[in-house]
Amino acid sequence: MTAPAPLVRARDLHVSFVSRDATVKAVNGVDLDLDAGEVLCILGESGSGKSVTLRALMRLNPPNKAVVSGELSVAGHDMVTISDRQLSSVRGKVVSMIFQEPMTALDPVYTIGRQIGETLVRHEGIGRREAEQRALELLELVQIPSAKRRLQAYPHELSGGLRQRAMIAMAISCRPQLLLADEPTTALDATVQIQILLLLRQLQQELGMGVIFVTHDLGVAGEIADRIAVMYAGRMVEAGSTVDVMRGPLHPYAKGLLGATVHSGLRGTRLTTIPGSPPDLRHPIEGCAFAPRCPHALETCSAGVPEFRPMQAGRAVRCFRSEEIAGATTRPPSRTTPQGVLLP
């Protein structure tokens, strides 16, 4: 690819899902840049649009329901207008994806070796036998013990951790430039999660892939990401380097998320919470989407959508009041009443 262009470039990306009953505006104007060999974590809660954004990068959203607009290119391919034929040579070769639930992402009726080989046969035009040999090397690369035997195994014969490793092997088989990961460790135990994270980090460095990693877990983001982008209600609300975002989040939502993450040393205290719940994207949102839950919200916050403004080096935040909030010694986000929160 030509050198200066970023690996991924999205400008004002919109995705909405249209059905007879409602139109859900899942992604409402996302700008995204990813350089080759960079790891970006998109952090957000369910319904924030993080997975839809990720799927848009591979055009995996259902074509008859999803309406995509804006600009989106991956390694020079325009993913909004790409033809189906081109798409099938881009998927797997240029960009590939690992999913949260390997049991449903793998085909239950083919062996692991066959499934990994299929990608190689399709993209590299090698024979079955050679593909099998390459699949074996890949299984060893993702540190599956007794790889030779595992080649003949069906997905149900593997544990969750091994299945996820097999899926990673499949995803990296053609050395893609971009790896997308949709909560790949959420279904795993903590002891296995850390193994998979370390493996992904190692492979990313060895193969020099760009990685976009979607998660709702701040701790996971801290282990793997170079940069973090926080999404809320279909928009980026904060972006910055992992250290900056985790040490000093600027957006009230990112702050709340950090405060609400249970970690050591909070015992005996009440957890700070974000009151209420995320907005329903079936209905249009006036102004800042986070304003109804925000401890710093003023009336003016509902007047218009705040811009995604660059702050210091490499940081951006979508908040009208970010300077005031950052300047003041921040009081923690509102604590709930003893009875919990009366939801709107």
Binding site: D189, T191, T261
Partner: protein, 345 residues
């Protein structure tokens, strides 16, 4: 008997609310071709829960923690073992009847949607239990609305809604209200916040801690998330392959863990500090198959400290501190561990 009040304390404060003795559950599997096999889901659990404390159970998936919770709730029958509730043997002559036991012990499940009847409004769901136990309809409905208020859902707005009209966090609040409806003394919480988003998780955890105070409850809190357990539990039980690996006060487990498995679990938590990332996985591989667990210590196949003795002899649950026990030969001077040779990896 009135059921609007919590049943009074019978055994006194020194009597543990729940005593679990030798609890075993083996699930038979296999066929005429493969021969008879059993999954040793729970393989000998002994512990107590004191009144008004929170006991946390942690472990990886497949370690038997959910089976244990279902055994204690008597949703499934144990292969062996007995449960004593406030001094009364459960389900035995002269003890406490199953119906009465189930009034005093309630459960909240992980999946907030599938544990509610989709055809009942949430008020009906909450009132269902009290009605079964003989509360008049009107009174049961009133109590349901009081409880909705107590869990932070305005009754006027929510009482007539159906489960699908609520968010996950709201549904979990309904499940908690339903568990409270019979004024239980013990609530079993099986991964109650695992399916929730972080911001909602914190709300529900705060609520659970408040309700515990307000209603004088005792919790059995099951979770795979050590941070959550550290936050809510007074004592922690670490399970591995159907057995207790370690049991002790929360500060001891998190500060002075005795079992290598507990230490590995603790070290597997993301560091929350991007400048100090993990470089080595604390544990490799997955837990072994509970159909055919390793001989001796069940953790030895993944343990960095394993020696020959660990394969030969199963460790007992050794006392390593006040109320702090660990099932590991390495913690004992006289276990023969010191003289034993390292296991070939």
């Amino acid at each position: 008997m009135s059921d609007t009040q919590q049943i009074e304390d019978r055994g006194g404060p020194a009597q543990p609310l729940l005593i679990v003795k030798g609890l075993v559950k083996h699930f038979p599997i296999g066929s005429v071709f493969t021969g008879k096999q059993v999954v040793r889901a729970v393989d000998g659990l002994d512990f107590t829960i004191d009144k008004r404390e929170t006991l946390g159970i942690v472990g990886e998936s497949g370690c038997g923690k959910s089976t244990a919770s279902r055994l204690i709730m008597s949703l499934i029958a144990p292969t062996e073992g007995e449960i004593v509730f406030d001094g009364d043997l459960v389900g035995a002559a002269g003890g406490i009847s199953l119906a009465e036991y189930r009034r005093q012990v309630q459960m909240v499940f992980q999946d907030s949607y599938s544990s509610l009847n989709p055809r009942l409004t949430i008020e009906e769901s909450i009132a269902y239990g009290p009605k079964v136990h003989g509360t008049p309809h009107r009174e049961a409905g009133e109590r349901a609305r009081d409880l909705l208020q107590a869990v932070g859902l305005a009754p006027r707005q929510y009482a007539r809604r159906f489960p699908h009209e609520l968010s996950g966090g709201q549904r979990q609040r309904v499940n908690i209200a339903r568990a409270l409806a019979l004024r239980p003394r013990l609530i079993i919480l099986d991964e109650p916040v695992s399916a929730l988003d972080k911001s909602v998780e914190a709300q529900v955890l705060n609520l659970l801690l408040d309700l515990k105070e307000q209603f004088g409850l005792t919790y059995l809190f099951i979770s795979h998330d050590l941070n959550v357990v550290e936050h809510v539990a007074d004592r922690v039980l670490v399970m591995y392959l159907g057995k207790i690996a370690e049991l002790g006060p929360v500060d001891d487990i998190f500060g002075r863990a005795g079992h290598p498995y507990t230490r590995a679990l603790l070290a597997s938590r993301p560091s929350m500090d991007p400048t100090r990332r993990r470089t080595q996985p604390p544990l490799v591989g997955d837990p072994p198959n509970p159909i055919n667990p390793p001989s001796g210590c069940r953790f030895r196949t993944r343990c960095a400290l394993a020696r020959e003795i660990c394969a030969e002899r199963e460790p007992g649950l050794y006392e390593i501190g006040a109320g702090h026990q660990a099932a590991c030969h390495a913690t004992q001077a006289d276990s023969g561990y010191g003289d034993s040779r390292r296991l070939a990896a």
